[in-house]
Every structure is written in C-alpha cells, then in structure tokens.
Amino acid sequence: MSQENAQSAPNAEPLSDADQQIDDAINKEYSAGFVSNIESDTLEAGLSEDVIRFISGKKNEPEWMLEWRLKAYHQWLEMEEPEWAHVNYPKIDFNEISYYSAPKSMADGPKSLDEVDPDLIATYNKLGIPLHEQQMLAGVAVDAVFDSVSVATTFRENLKEAGVIFCPISEAVHEYPELIKKYLASVVPVKDNYYAALNCAVFSDGSFVYIPKGVKCPMELSTYFRINEAKTGQFERTLIIAEEGSEVSYLEGCTAPMRDENQLHAAVVELVCLDGAKIKYSTVQNWYPGDEQGKGGIYNFVTKRGIAHTNSRISWTQVETGSAVTWKYPSCVLKGDNSVGEFYSVALTNNYQQADTGTKMIHIGKNTRSTIISKGISAGKSSNAYRGLVRFNAGADGARNFTQCDSLLIGSECAAHTFPYIESKNPKAIIEHEATTSKVSEDQLYLCQQRGIDAEKAVSMIVNGFCKDVFKELPMEFAVEAGKLLEVSLEGSVG
C-alpha cells in the first residue's frame, strides 16, 4: 500500500475507485530500478572456449578448474534447451550475452569495506542494505556479490573462530581445493540440465559455506546480490556443506536495477547435508520483473538441489516475486534413512510475469519424510505454474509426503496451473497431494470493507493470510521483508 493511496482512499470507497488506485499503484515504477555508474570490466558478448579461459584466468584458477569448465562447456554444446516449462519467451541467443562483468575498481580485490568503491556502497545503501549497520546491528555476515565478483565479506573472522568457512567460491577454489574437488557438482551433476551445464562452464562467483562436524553456525549467513551490468548474465554458484551434526541457516535475497533487455540468470545451488545435519535455505527473490507491458525483466533459470543423508534435514523456503521468467525447482534427494525434506514457497506473478516453479522430493531412504507447501498468486496478465515431482523409490519403506498447492487468482486475465508428478514404487509409503484454486473471496473483501478497511489493504491482508504457512518458516527479518514485498507487488490488483 503506497502512501498516496493510503491518504486518498476514504475507507468506504466503492470498488470502482479502488480500481483507480490500483491502476495507479500498478503503474508505479519498480522502486529498486536504477543503474549505478560504476565502471565495469565487461567482457564482449559471446561464448567460446576463449571466454571460459578468460573467466578462469581472471580468477587465477588452477588448471584443473579450467579443465572442468571446458569439459562442461563441451557437454553444454551438445545439450538442448529445455522446452517443457509452461513459459513463453523469445529464444535466447547465448552469443549475445556477456559472460563476465566485474566492477573495475575491484580488480585487485578489497580486503575490507574501507577499500570498497564508495559508489558501490552507495548502491547498497539505496537498496537498504547498509553493510556496516548489518555488521554491527543485525549480527549477520554478508557476502555481497555485486555482479560477478564478491566485494565485501563480513564477519569472516567471527565465523572462523567457530570453524565455519564462509567465502566466495572463487576463493574456496584456491584455499580449499580438496573440498571443492570433492563436492562441486556432486549434487547437481554437470550434465544435469542445460542451464546447470552452462553455469558450470561460465560460473562467475558465489558463496561457499562449510560447517564442520557438530558445529551450529553462530549466525545466519546471508548473501545479497544484484545484477548490475546491462547484457550481463550472472551465473551464481553456491555450495554449502554441512558436516555431521552441524546446523546452518542461509539467506539469499536480491533486487536488480531496471533494464530493458532481458537478462539471463542461471544459478546453481548445491547443498550437501551429511548425517544428522540441518540446512535451512531461504530466498527472497525480487529481481526486475519487466514493466507493465512485459518488456524487460530477468530470466531466472535456477537449479537448486540438496542431498540429505541419514537423519538430516533440508528446508527450502522461497518468496518469489520478481523476474520476468522463473524456472526454478529447489529439490531434495532424501538419500539417507529418516531424512527430512521441506519446501515452502510463495510465488507471486503480476503483469506479464511467468513463473514455472516447484520442487522435487526424491525419497530413496527408509522413513524419509517430505512436506511441500506451495502458494501461487497470479495477478494482471501473468502466468504462475506449480510443477513438482514426488518420487518414492522401491526402498523407501515408511516414507511419507504431504503436498499442498494452492493458487489464488486476482483478475480475469491471469492464469494458474498445477502440474504435480507423483510416482510411487513402494506400498509402504504414503503420498498425499491436494491442490485448490480460487479467487479472493468476495465475502471476505466485503467483510473487511464493511469494517472500514479499504479494498487494497483487505486484499493484502487476505493474501498475507493465504501465505502465512510459508512466511512463518522464514527467518524473522525475511518474513517482514516478504510481507512488504507482497504488498508492494500486489498493489492495486483487486477490483
């Protein structure tokens, strides 16, 4: 709810006036849309072996890493772009994308915040991510990724005391090559899918987290990253390893400046959750969704997967409100006995946004359990699809899954879809799946308005109520941000 609307809307205003406000609100420009004028060290568009050698060289990568990338590149060349998702977008010309962009003044790599380009710091401040404040007040270590190179990593020392490694993955390649060699692409194989293979070849940077045996990470780890340079794909790569009995909560959130051309983002996130460990991975995604004509916006093709070993737990929570096209299925491979997988998702689409998102729960071990709660909200002319897979293998005795996918439609031109694949080979496993689709109830709206709550606020309340099962799974700060995000993204979609 924007300020102007709050002031101008008399409480018992008829709906037609609410329509007007709504239109105004919808027309509001993306508030995080600006371009910061930092000189960038951007590679010319196009993809070839030389580009990969350049990226690798830029990071002084060891020979084995370069070879790994080149191998991935050749595998990618032989793969085909997936077309099964319920999304439409012009074919991507992978030779029109630049695969490397680093803030120029960062070339030497800063050691502390003081060394960071002041323009960059200002950008973060505009977005409301004051690093200093976060360091001191929030107690959150932030590995901020600006385009492709990590520029500031905080609280590293504190974490080191606990034995936790939290650093850019490019650094981990040098400092912890054994861990990287052992775990990189162990969860998402290079050839897993088209975009994962592409990521392997050209990944720019990302976070590396290692939690030693029995350690409970003393603080929530968080990465804020932005896409900045026009026509630059960002290929994030995150690897989290939780050793036996350890625990970690990782937050990921992002906004991107306004841009007319579509930007490609193909990230890979891998979680390795060893015996008895717990990983909680939360995402708030608010990248530029394109304007109200559907022009511009980020293409977000992400592969996220975790392997859960015996007695471990992986929990994915996501609030997706941004991107023009989203293609994202955070998954759990429940390999060990008694392991648990969870997926809580709110996906909101407005205007011409398209989302095809969901999860995969692969039950391999005995007594594995999984829960899927997905809430999809479509408004404007958008399309929002849940696509999920729940598979019980023959050995998954006593496994259990519960899935609930609800969709809410706001406006008569949007679309909501549900495509759940449910496969079972085990009679001792129980799967329950339910899905509903409905619109914001007129009765509920009427009741709120009758009590002096204007239409827009009422819808916001109803939508927040609709999503509460997911919000309660988010870390506190994120829950607040998520509620606000929905409110802003939904402004004026009721009539």
Partner: protein, 440 residues
Amino acid sequence: MTSTPLHAAIAAGSTLTSHATTKIADVQNAAAHAWAQTPWPTRKTEAWKYTPLKALEKGEYFIPAAKSTLSADALKQFAINRLEAFTLVFIDGHFCAEQSDDLTQLPTGMTIEHLDDASNLEQFNKAAGEHATLFGELNTATINTALVINVAKNAQITQPVNVLNVASANAPCLANARILWQQAPHSKATLVEHFVSTQDSQVFTNSITELFVGENAQCEHYRLHLEDEANLHIGGVYSHVHKHARLNSFYLAMGANLQRVDVVTQFEGEGAEAVNNGVYLPRNKQLVDFHTCIEHKVPHCNSNEIFRGIIGDSARAVFNGRIHIHKDAQKTLAELSNKNLLTSNKAEVNTKPELEIYADDVRCAHGATIAELDALAMHYLRTRGISQEEAQVMLSFGFINELIEQLNNTAIVEYLRPVIAQRFAKKPEFLESLIHEALV
C-alpha cells in the same frame, strides 16, 4: 517401430476400406496423413512418459483383423443379466448383424446407421479430431464398420444400448472399434461399452467413441474393459456436452495387458455437468493408463471426477487427470480425486492431476493419494478376529465398492460386483461373503 503393410497402406493414403461419401474419405485421408507425420511415442513423449509401447513395436499387431463369427452360445457368457439391453455385437472390430439384436426392432426414438449410410455426418470425428492422438488418427484412418447411434429429440429411452466388443482372433491383429453416439436435445439414453475376449485371443483393440450430448439431454455411459491379459487396448472417449446437458460416465479397467484410455470431455454450453468416475485394478504385469481431460470452455459448468485404483503384483498404473479452464469459463466448479492402493513391492503408480486455469472466478480442487491399506482400519478388523488376509480383501473391496455402489444402473452393479470381488478374494468363502454382504 517396424513398418508393416498397414503402415505402408496408410502412408500411401490407400486406407483399407473405401467409403462412399467424400466427407469420410476426406477425414480419413487427413487422419492417414497425420498418422504418418506423428512420431512414434517414446519415454520423452509427455503423454506416453510412463507407458512403453514395446508390445506394439514389433508391428505384428498391425495386421487388420479378419471378419469372424462366434456362436450364440459362445456369446452367452458375456451377457449382462437383467440389463435387458439392445445389444450390438462386434467381433474383432467387425459388426455382426446376425448376432446383434434386430436393427428393425429398435427402441422408439433411436436409429442406428452404418457410417457409410449415415444421414448426417456433421459430427463425425468432430470431438475426436480436435484432440487427436496417434492412435486416434490410426483409428480414423482404418475405420471399417463404424456405427452411428442417434437418439431423437425428446426421446426418453430406458433400454440401454450394449455395444459388445469381443476380441477373438488367436493370432496378433488389429481390431478397429468406432462408435458415434448422438443425442438430440432433451433426450435420455444409456450406452454400455463392453469389451471382452474369448480364450487365447491376441487382439490389439484400437477404439474411439464419440459422444454428443445435446441441450438438456442426459447420457449414462459405462465402459467396461474386461478382456483377457493377452490382449491390448488403446482407446479414446471424446464427448461434447451441450447446454444444461449431463454426462455420467463410468470406466472400469480390468482387462488387457496394456490399457490406455484417453477421456476428453468438453463443455459446449453453459450449465452442463459431467461426472467421470473410474476404477482400475491391474495385476500381474498389466499396465493401465488413464489420461483424462475436462475442457471447461464455457462458464457455469460443473465437473467431477473420481478415479480409484488398486495395483498389485508387478502391475503399473498411470493416471493423468487434467482440468483445463478456458479464459471465459467463469463460475466453473471442477473437482478431481485420484486414490491409489499399492499392494505389492513390485507395483508402481504414476499419477499427475493437472490444473490449467485461465479464468479467475472458479473453484477447482484436486487431490491424489498413494498408500497401502489403512493400518488403523486393518488393526480394527484384526482385533475383531478377522484374519489378515480376509481383512485385506474386505478393505480393498470396500475401497472400490464405494464407487460401484453409486452407479445408477443396478444391473451393471450386480454384474460388476462378483467380477471385482473375484479379483480380491482368492478363497471362495471370502468371495461368497463379499458378494452377499455387499448385496444386503
């Protein structure tokens, strides 16, 4: 996929039977062309992801079945007692007038024509053509004796029509079954499609049924697959349900080693209603695959779908239930439920209830479950001195019987109950008690 003389014939556009009217010839040529163009399904073909067609790949099932007959005695075993239906007999896809009821003695308000002599072909292949699949095209391209069954305006026909399809050939062959059922406005009628087989038969039945239910008309439709396991069956039921009409369909899949049924129900007018219920009970190495789709094209229609299955031995079941709400189909109510019981370690279920919604003022829900028999219910029965085996039989039968009980036609209920009970009760004493108790 091996090429067969049939493939060559179809590809050459010279389909088996030449038909009198140009309309039929045109439709057939188009279908033949489409068949030749459509690639053979593989695991990557979404609609056939879980259903391999290996059995057909050798090509031996593509030899069109020759016309044959069966004695009246042989046909007696397939009678549904007390149904008192008007029976039309097809043997290996060929219509047998002499074994069927006398076409001159039809119930008032009903006419039956051969496709070639049909007075009105406007709706021929209209519903099936819109959603054509590879096998639908094959059916259309190779029609031999298709019947057109018409129910006149305002006719209230109580006598069901029983289309008995017998698979009898004992060498692999292709039987083509095709029915065009047209109900004029305000009419009421019942269609039973009964698929059976004689001993040692090895027939691949490729069937298409088109149902057109006119304004305010009511259609009761039963489709029973009860062939032996040496047979194969791929079929489709395509319906158009018009304004304020009602279609009530029930599917039973127990026969054939491979059974695939595409059910597409499309609403053509407001205020219409459709119920599609079904039961599948594959065992041994059977594979049952139901692909259903409800096309809500217009506002104010209701659809309800319940499919239940029990999968034993090394059998597999596939269920894909799609609800498609078009852009203008406001005020739609659509529900779908699919429940599966797995009773063996080697059995497998793949289910996918889909919602595709382009209108906002609708209420849609679907649910799917896969589990074994309820442990609590089992415990309850065991504490009352009922053996494990008997308790299993009771619960399994009860799970399916719920749907059977709801059927409107008591003759069908009485016919199916022992057929289904036999599937579960391996001991005769269980069987008796099941049939008896259910009847009480």
